[in-house]
Amino acid sequence: MSDLTRLSAAEIAGLVAAGETSAVEVTQAHLDRIAAVDDRVHAFLHVDTEGALAAARGVDERRAAGEEIGPLAGVPVAVKDVLTTKGVPTTVGSKILEGWRPPYDSTIVERLRAAGTVMLGKTNMDEFAMGSSTEYSAYGPTRNPWDLERIPGGSGGGSAAALAAYEAPLSIGSDTGGSIRQPGAVTGTVGAKPTYGGTSRYGLVAFSSSLDTPGPCARTVLDAALLHQVIGGHDPRDSTSIPAAVPDVVGAARLGATGDLTGVKLGVVTEFTGEGAEPGVLAAFRESAEALAKLGAEIVEVSCPHFKYALPAYYLIAPSECSSNLARFDGVRFGLRVGDDGNRSLEEVMSLTREAGFGPEVKRRIMIGTYALSSGYYDAYYGQAQKVRTLITRDFTAAFEQVDALISPTTPFVAFPIGARTSDPYQMYLADLFTIPTNLYGGPAISVPCGLSEGLPVGFQIMAPTMADDRMYRVAAALESTVGTFTPPAL
């Protein structure tokens, strides 16, 4: 049999279901691959070897007994360390949760288990999902399998790098301002941010509650859709979860793969195809848009005048919510506790714990958010940002009256060298310039590889109306059918 780690999730599920390979074999192959390459890539914070093999054996036993084994049975999946996993360490890339083993599974992880997938472990991320390079992980950066001296994007760099390094065929990410799509773009993989409320946040350690969206990462559009189908749908434990069925994303991906986009109207976001992006990125994007036109799509320019305010609005809303969400990390009930020597006051212990447990970017955002919510500043900052959010939503609504979906590059630049942007937060924030508007609006968006610039992958972003996730999968699969997939050099 060919190398099991090179197969797609769809292929693995088919082989396992047909009994042509076992879940244990598939799992072992991926564990071996992790053992071989992850000391260089560092996609994983925790590999759950025993748990994975036990889950795989369970699948094989159920299959042998003729029981229902689930749609993705036997397919390994890597989970971003932002989702709680019962009994398995969950750190959110932070020292403040080092060693914490949650007593409960997140809804996404529960659904992954129910679908028969095998969780390999937890992937590296920028601390509390704040960052675009995974350099802000308290446990060291993840490296891009295309070039180990470069970043894999962030915050979900681990989940993307695990795919590009063939350590897992599927992974879960979370997208607050681009943390699924931008890593997908710079690692040549597929990353989808579902409609906000289309995937449950229960068990997702919150960064910014009104923006956080867990979603699927894969090497192919169909795999992403298959994973999306399994993890999506209403969850009564999340009040913001939409009480509706998952749009038929798998059907849409299959339809798109036929390479016919007749009758589909796509809008190029004028504001995102100008000076802000690297020429190589723009070139790859334009070529791909033309390729879509050849498949029958009508391509027009659409202006979204308020998108330019998205970044500042985001950097008020997300830090504001984070300043409150991260208040619970105080050393009292779980995680790190510093300075509790019997002499210090409660306040001192809380302060020392937070001082030692949070990294610089997290502290920066807590400070910004605390300030933006303070009495006397609320209206000027948080309140104003919410108004901008409404205007951006109107831009989207107006655009979707003219076109079926909006398209743009996913991120302005290809993977940059490790260390290149850590000294200037604003340069780092620019990585999410094109992805943030979608989060403020709440709609779905996907990044799909569309070409290379200077030998590094470029991502193509498709943004759709809320609950029209199927639409972006159709376009993404059509693009994939014409530009193909991209394989990094051997590690």
Partner: protein, 499 residues
């Protein structure tokens, strides 16, 4: 601080008080506000908890519909408008008994707003404006051990019990209440009493101040007549109806003494002490936390369906004050008698006893007499004294049927309170029934006549009043179990005298 306080009547002659009350009511829902954990009082520490009410990373709240319904019903009973759309908000501050270090509450969009509650003080109706009624979550409880005071200062360890964390809490805030003058303390007490009765009548909370399911903060300020309202203080830790009254009074006296001396009132939180009746300063408002309220992003806005609200309004029970008026009329009680029934907390108990077939007078006699006495002795609420309205009605039925006399009935009631069973069972088991067997009684009468020939002769000669001694003798030999009237008739009959 040991300053001599001015006399109360002098204070109210010089100053006008403005009071305001913030009341917190723990709702009696089966489950907590955001999770499925049970809400019952007590339980081993940290056994009624889950990831949600412990605020574990990743957990999310889901609003309890029963709590929203209860809050709307309270709002409607307090004549409030119900918001067509409102949101929960986060109140951010660090404290270990708050698992998330923020409390989910409501800020500028309360669920119910702008209502009133009419209360009676000395026969006068006072209308108390209600600013807002909103829904929030309770905190856990911190226990400081190792220190001398039980407070955090000096403690060697602090333990937190999160069983109470996340229990739905309704906050009811009055508008400022000016113009009550010397009656301010009584108005405050009457308001909290009436509010408690309203909430109890809705069946949404057991509203027990001693268990903390009803908690009260009292705002007080003084101003000279014609001048602007003074700076107010907020008195916390007011844990009984009596304390509400005392706290207002004590704070009025203290503020007057400060103002008399040319001082200024500091806007601050003060703590009431049950033992001394004093208040002492807590944290000053000038250094108070900025709570950084913002809309709770983990919850969707509340938009109660107007038809549903109308349904809830139509189904509200008769409010206590109106009910009391009706009952007073039906029972034919004077204002004073009604007041003693209300003060004893006996309205519902008597009402239920009457509903079970007893006359209002008899029901009132049992509840305000024997049972109130026992409740006082044992220090429990009348409702918890151990007898139910049905049992009292059954007892009175036995009296009415001539099976028990007053003395025997008291003995049976003792058995009821001791949990020995129903009145009829106790009567039978303890052999307390009135002796009505005429054969046995006649024998006892004959014995008494034989033992007291002198008395018998007096009766025979027409001194009927002397029969009392013979009745007493018979009652003694039958240990009180005979009906005195029957005994008397038998004696007269045996002695050939006419009664």
């Amino acid at each position: 601080m040991t300053t001599t306080l001015p006399a109360y009547d002098e204070v109210v002659a010089r100053y006008e008080p403005v009071i305001g009350l913030e009341t917190h009511v723990e709702l009696g829902t089966n489950t907590k506000m955001w999770c499925g954990c049970p809400t019952d009082f007590g339980g081993e520490p940290n056994t009624r908890v889950c990831p949600v009410c412990l605020g574990l990373p990743g957990s999310l709240p889901v609003a309890n519909k029963a709590a929203i319904e209860a809050t709307i019903r309270i709002g409607l009973a307090l004549n409030c408008s119900i918001a067509e759309w409102c949101r929960f908000a986060r109140k951010n501050y660090f404290y270990p008994d708050m698992p998330k270090n923020f409390q989910i509450s409501q800020y500028d969009e309360p669920l119910c707003f702008d209502g009133y509650l009419d209360v009676e003080v000395n026969g006068e109706l006072v209308r108390i404006g209600i600013e807002r009624v909103h829904l929030e979550e309770d905190t856990g409880k911190t226990l400081h051990v190792g220190g001398a005071t039980g407070r955090i200062h000096g403690a060697t360890e602090s333990l937190v019990d999160y069983n109470r964390a996340g229990i739905p809490l309704v906050e009811i805030v009055t508008k400022p209440i000016p113009g009550t003058g010397a009656l301010a303390p009584e108005v405050a007490r009457a308001y909290v009493t009436e509010l408690r009765d309203v909430i109890r009548s809705l069946g949404v909370s057991d509203v027990r101040m001693e268990e903390g399911s009803l908690r009260c903060d009292v705002n007080t300020s003084l101003n000279k007549p014609g001048e602007e309202w003074g700076t107010r203080t907020e008195t916390k830790n007011v844990n009984s109806l009596r304390s509400v009254e005392r706290a207002v009074r004590s704070e009025m006296l203290r503020q007057a003494s400060v103002l008399d001396a040319g001082g200024k009132i500091t806007q601050e939180t003060r703590h009431f002490h049950e033992d001394t009746g004093d208040t002492t300063p807590g944290r000053s408002k000038e250094t108070a936390t900025d709570y950084r309220y913002f809309p709770e992003p983990d919850l969707v806005p509340l938009a109660p369906d107007t038809a549903w609200v109308a349904e809830l309004k139509a189904a509200l029970p008769e409010l206590p004050r109106l009910r009391r008026k009706r009952i007073q009329q039906e029972w034919g009680l004077s204002d004073l008698d009604m007041q003693s029934v209300v003060n004893a907390g006996a309205v519902e108990l008597i009402e239920a006893t009457v509903a079970a077939g007893t006359t209002p007078a008899a029901a009132r006699k049992w509840w305000l007499g024997e049972l109130s006495r026992r409740a006082n002795e044992t220090g429990v609420e009348l409702a918890d004294v151990g007898a139910t309205p049905a049992q009292v009605a059954e007892l009175q039925g036995l009296v009415d049927a001539g099976k028990l006399n007053d003395k025997l009935a008291r003995a049976v009631l003792e058995g009821v309170v001791a949990g020995e069973g129903s009145p009829t069972e106790i009567m039978t088991n303890r052999g307390l029934e009135v002796v009505s067997d005429t054969g046995a009684l006649t024998a006892a009468v004959d014995d008494a006549i034989a033992a007291n020939p002198d008395v018998a002769d007096k009766v025979r000669s027409g001194k009927i009043a002397a029969a009392g001694a013979l009745v007493g003798a018979v009652m003694k030999t039958t240990r009180g179990q005979a009906d005195a009237k029957t005994v008397r008739e038998l004696i007269l009959e045996r002695l050939g005298a006419q009664g």
